[in-house]
Symmetry: C2
Subunit: 214 residues, 2 copies
């Protein structure tokens, strides 16, 4: 949560022409639930361990809000999740990524700018087997005279997920099993890929590491 | 999780003409995170305390799945949340409601049947102050030749929320503060009301009771 001016000066945010990540409504909300007695220490240490030089982070009484470029937000999330997982024991995390329609910012940016998404960040595998219940919401209103088709982006994302993780269809969600890095990357890839054709895309995932039932 | 045949025979499910709740993809996934040492007992007791005669309930290693009529699903959720909250201490719960496009069931039902939603269940206040981060996703594809407009249903739901709870706009979510019953009712009302004009509607909420920061 510290700001290093030199880092900010050279961050991708500043070189990008046009709308900033803030104007594009790019960011995340998440919460960590280490199911162990010293959960407060695990949460505080995990948030401290994450690289926060180029993101805005605000933790309130419900969730933690993270804002920045897609790359910076995802790396912060991964750092925090990995640190909490590496503390050991049963961990549940809820991750919510959003882009394209920030709550308090009007969605009046040109479509072509909003729909340009960066490459999927490469996250190193960390040896933490993870299961997730994942849902993707491409809010595809279509265009004047053209009907939307939100399920086509969802189907494409689920098809692509097979490349990295085990995929199981469940009611209301898709189950992903694999290394924490691969599960999070799959969620992020679905979100970013849908964002290439749909302006407003949100995704939610409940991730579990080291379930006592395994 | 027990089934009483007599109850099932007279349940609204059986009297409803046309598609069943299962065919309409009506249900929920949720998880409870009591931040206290005996969290396992609190979770197990809360799930046992909820009235499950007329719902299908399956708990796996990630979340708990509930399926039935809208009324039965919401009452089960409320019972479980209230029991976990009344156990005392800091509780976080994640609730995901979905309707209109079940994962494994094709969305080929007539629009007018899918879009008929029942009244909002009346839940008794229980004296449990609750805060929530709420997001509503009306996946409004529009109709042939007609563009969708997902934000109109979201705006209407947020406007209606003011009738029951304190409402604060936040990034990516709407914050709700009020009695546990009123917060859950607001989430449900938004979901059901959006379902009157949009076929596939999902909603997610992170609820917190007794945060140590209050």
């Amino acid at each position: 949560m510290t700001h290093d001016t030199r880092t900010l000066t050279t961050a991708p945010t500043d070189r990008r022409p046009g709308p900033t990540p803030t104007e594009l409504g790019i960011g995340a909300r998440f919460s960590l639930h280490p199911h162990r007695d010293d959960f407060v220490d695990v949460i505080v240490d995990a948030l401290d361990a994450a690289q926060a030089d180029d993101v805005e982070v605000t933790t309130d009484d419900v969730t933690t809000f993270v804002r920045g470029t897609e790359d910076a937000v995802v790396r912060y999330l991964f750092d925090a999740l990995r640190a909490a997982a590496e503390a050991g024991g049963h961990l549940v995390a809820h991750v919510h990524l959003s882009r394209g329609c920030p709550g308090e910012v009007a969605c009046d940016l040109p479509d072509d700018v909003v729909l340009a998404t960066p490459p999927v960040p490469v996250l190193p595998r960390c040896g933490m087997p993870t299961a997730a219940h994942w849902s993707l919401y491409p809010l595809d209103d279509g265009a004047p005279g053209r009907q939307g088709d939100h399920m086509s982006a969802v189907t494409a994302a689920v098809d692509a997920a097979h490349r990295r993780v085990d995929v199981t269809p469940e009611h209301f969600v898709t189950r992903l099993d694999g290394d924490l890095a691969d599960v999070l990357t799959t969620v992020v890839e679905g979100w970013l890929t849908a964002g290439r054709t749909v302006r407003h895309v949100a995704t939610h995932a409940t991730l579990v590491v080291a379930s006592p039932s395994w």
